[in-house]
Amino acid sequence: MSIKIIIADDHVIMRQGLIQMLQADGHFTVIGECGDGVSLINLVLTESPDVVLMDISMPEMSGLVAIDKILAQRPMTRILVLSMHNEREYMEAMRDAGAKGYLQKETSADALVQAIKQVAAGKQIFPGLESLTAETSPATISPLSVLTRREREVFFLVAAGNTSKRIAELLTMSLKTAENHRSNIYKKLNVSSSAELIRLAGKAGLLE
């Protein structure tokens, strides 16, 4: 059975090269292609691909934000990031965001084809990262277990994208108190932004 793929890269030549390579293999059908993050999200939601092959640096919306939004709405999406960046921090950030694999653009065609098949089969591909000391994954603990009842309320409101001001209004508390709760939650969950909190909530299945 053919693996359905969507390709996102702002370089047209890169996309064409990938399409040719995938068609030559015969196991893949490219069901969509685009050059920015916003179009990618729409394509994924309408076309339901098996694997998304995407770049990080794209116009309109960065790859990292796009991954967040895709997984928030379609958590089963299997994403393989194809990037020119060889820094370990990129790979870690993409793994933590919920991508299933990360390869450099210089990767040979054979290795890339193999990697896509493995990701489609549910495997994770992060070459070189396994050997490095991984930080404790936030997904392994239930975020709610460390929070007080009030902090849980604030947690869900932050995860739903509310500002501290709005949260203060909703829970009838002062802005300062809301900020304090928020800061305590961030500390307890070891996150540094609402984006990270939402990602963590998504991974723990708390966004439904």
Binding site: I56, L64, N86, E89, Y90, S192, S193
Partner: protein, 230 residues
């Protein structure tokens, strides 16, 4: 007579208030101009960095690949491929330091971790990086923190002779605190002529109402503290 003096004093006070207001306005204009100038500088650096990466970088990638392929036939080409690859790595490093795309792509925390790792990984110095941010940081402040860290860490790398360096960034609801310490040679702050780099960060910090504080004594290491209001 008493009334005349009163009038003169009132006049002088009015003039003073007027001059103070003009001075404040001009100060504000200068600050905003300085911020625009730095934003332009960052944009220029980003362009040059992209040219380096996409231009020379792509050419060197192609060259490395061709030489590697030839290496199957003649072992001498393997060595040439390695040299080409080293040039490629250098260009990439230069391009990244000039304009850290990782800051735009991933944000301040990964960018600082990358900076600490990539500056010190091939040295005998150990650099620890601890970043705890509880709010989203605006782009211009992220750039400010990154550039200050880059300058201070690069100075430490070149001059401190330290065995251990630590970078610590914390946020509270109304400020950001950046602290970089090393256990190296230290220097007499009054004696050392401030280089362009240090002066430029001091100016930048000032434009954002940040407090920059450097404590150092010969033989006692250096501690740089920056407090930035949010």
């Amino acid at each position: 007579m008493g009334n005349d003096n009163q009038d003169i004093i009132t006049d002088i006070l009015k003039q003073q208030a007027f001059l103070k207001k003009r001075l404040d306005e001009e100060q504000l204009q200068l600050t905003s101009m300085a911020k625009r100038l730095w934003a332009q500088q960052e944009a220029d650096k980003a362009n040059l960095s992209r040219e380096l990466h996409d231009g020379i970088g792509q050419l060197l990638t192609a060259l490395t690949r061709r030489l590697s392929t030839l290496g199957n036939r003649d072992p001498e080409f393997v060595e040439l491929a390695e040299i080409a690859n080293m040039a490629l790595e250098d260009v990439r490093h230069l391009s990244r330091m000039m304009s850290p795309t990782i800051l735009d792509d991933l944000g301040l925390k990964p960018a600082l971790k990358w900076l600490c790792r990539s500056l010190f990984e091939d040295t005998d110095m150990q650099c620890d990086c601890l970043v705890q941010l509880h709010n989203d940081i605006a782009d211009d402040l992220s750039t400010l923190v990154f550039r200050i860290s880059q300058e201070v860490l690069t100075n430490a790398l070149k001059h401190s002779g330290a065995a251990h360096i630590s970078l610590n960034l914390q946020s509270s609801y109304n400020s950001l605190l950046l602290e970089i310490r090393d256990d190296g040679n230290g220097f007499d702050y009054e004696q050392v002529a401030k280089g362009v780099g240090l002066t430029s960060i001091a100016d930048r910090a000032k434009a954002f109402d940040a407090k920059l504080n450097i404590i150092s004594r010969p033989g006692k290491g250096t501690q740089t503290r920056v407090t930035i209001p949010l």
